[in-house]
């Protein structure tokens, strides 16, 4: 997969298939520590120990439509490629937590990609599931809780509202990733002087 956000979409879909009602997605980026961590926790039915202990084995799967399960093994490969690792904590009946770590600046680290798209698609396709999303960039945090928004009166089944939500996430993440002190106009000035 070309983007880490697609891996996240995939791992979350695993949780949904496992019958989860609530899924937490945490992304932590620290450029000073040169680290990027992803954690996805669900309250689904969990996994038997033999699966949780071998997340990188693509030939362990509970599915019946085909005999390979590629999702976690692909994420594990993406993490190992850039001096990172993957771990799975799960127990039958008590949900699953998947954690992946990456070296932020590693040349082989896939870009995070379209996190806003991943989230809005998850919310659109799974209106009965509560999603919590927290994303930290160098200490600054963005948080979102769909249960809170719905209780406050938001209609998250409405595609128009989701489109706005997606835009808000994209703009906020973009701002959080900007180098300290830089604003949009300053960046364009720099581009001109560089030429």
């Amino acid at each position: 997969m070309r983007e880490l956000s697609l891996h996240i979409l995939d791992v979350v879909e695993n949780g949904i298939t496992a019958g989860a009602g609530r899924i937490e997605i945490r992304v932590e980026e620290s450029r000073p520590a040169d680290r990027l961590s992803i954690a996805v926790r669900d309250n689904g039915r969990g996994m038997p120990p033999e699966k949780a202990g071998n997340p990188e084995d693509p030939f362990i799967t509970s599915r019946t439509t085909r005999r390979v399960g590629l999702g976690l093994s692909l994420l594990a490969a993406a993490a190992r490629r850039c001096e990172g690792d993957l771990s799975v904590a799960a127990a039958p009946g008590r949900g699953t937590e998947v954690r992946a770590h990456f070296r932020h600046s590693h040349i082989d680290r896939a870009p995070l990609g379209d996190m806003a798209g991943t989230l809005s698609m998850l919310i659109l396709g799974n209106p009965h599931i509560d999603f919590v999303y927290a994303h930290t960039v160098d200490g600054e945090e963005l948080t979102l809780d769909t249960r809170e928004l719905i209780d406050g009166g938001a209609d998250l089944r409405d595609p128009g509202t989701l489109r706005q939500l997606e835009r808000w996430i994209r703009d906020t993440l973009e701002r959080m990733h900007r180098p300290p002190g830089a604003s949009g106009t300053e960046e364009s000035t720099h581009a001109e002087t560089d030429d």
Binding site: L9, E13, L74, E140, L142
Partner: protein, 123 residues
């Protein structure tokens, strides 16, 4: 610390085009399933879904539901979607992309014309 609140959502909504009425359940006439297994996601299912969301926002139809599901076992034809119009056979479409999704939505979901060029099977 940015936290998305209900006020943000209301504000950004007001800033844009038309306000959409709150939905009240209602009858579902068309169900569109986007298959989001590892295979589908790797093949581009998220972009298909995104294009579907844009079309839904434009059409503003309350009797169309979008759901996601896992792998159907036909990984080589992903991204797959299934369109079920009330009282007709479900149709599976294969090798979808954003443009094909737009066409299937406008012609099949809205007007009931099955797009046989993209169809994989009748279920």
């Amino acid at each position: 610390m940015p936290k998305l609140t209900i006020d943000d959502l209301k504000r950004i909504k007001e800033e844009t085009t038309k306000a959409t009425a709150v939905r009240h359940g209602g009858e579902v006439r068309v169900k569109i399933t986007v298959h989001m297994g590892t295979c589908g996601i790797a093949a581009g299912a998220r972009d298909v879904m995104k294009s579907l969301m844009e079309e839904m926002a434009e059409a503003d139809r309350q009797d169309i539901r979008v759901v996601t599901s896992g792998c159907m076992g036909m990984c080589s034809s992903e991204p797959n979607i299934t369109v079920e119009v009330l009282d007709s056979e479900p149709i599976v479409y294969q090798h979808m992309d954003a443009n094909r999704m737009r066409q299937v939505f406008r012609r099949h979901a809205l007007q009931g014309e099955v797009q046989t060029d993209f169809a994989l099977a009748k279920l």
